[in-house]
Subunit: 134 residues, 2 copies
Amino acid sequence: MDITHIEHIGIAVKNLDESIKYYENVLGLKCYAVEEVTDQKVKTAFFMVGQTKIELLESTSPEGPIAKFIEKKGEGIHHLAFACNNLADTLTEVEGKGIQLIDKTPRKGAEGLDIAFLHPKSTGGVLTELCEHK
Amino acid sequence: MDITHIEHIGIAVKNLDESIKYYENVLGLKCYAVEEVTDQKVKTAFFMVGQTKIELLESTSPEGPIAKFIEKKGEGIHHLAFACNNLADTLTEVEGKGIQLIDKTPRKGAEGLDIAFLHPKSTGGVLTELCEHK
């Protein structure tokens, strides 16, 4: 496993526009992109903080994973994403170490990254994403 | 507000030694320090990931904030800490913008940083820490 940095922190929000206001007006960050990821039923907003992004996530459907997360736990930090090299090999490696994979092979995420999620049951309750810039 | 980077991500764990094993053996990170913060009733372990730290937090008391967090929500991400300049002025500024402060003035946190927490009720459910390296 070759993790280089924290790629982003995903935060579940009820209302993207309201949350963008908080991150811009209070924390002084700048939203540089808004993107819809259809297959995840989310609309996302990105902020750069040093080498890491804040990714706000608003559900576009009451059946989406972010809507269900907020229903259960309320708004808040949803997942932690590490940037790594050789994502496909890394997934094989961590599965061999007993980690439960949500995505067995890389798929396309926001911003064109290859991504895969590890199940929080095997990562100490932290929904963990691995990302690779191709 | 002058945020430079994400200083650390705090993660609540039940057993520090077990969690250190996961971060070292699966994610390939290196624990570089273990520290007890008595007034917060926690034992912490630190890992560097690019410019950001992972801070694992194990409660040293069943009455501590981390024990209560785990009781309510289970293990997982506990807080998000931004590095900023001029923490005292920043607290005045964000309070003026309607943010509820947990710490009205900076106090000492792990690794000798000056820190203060913002209440998650006014930050979209994210327990938010501001830190300054003096």
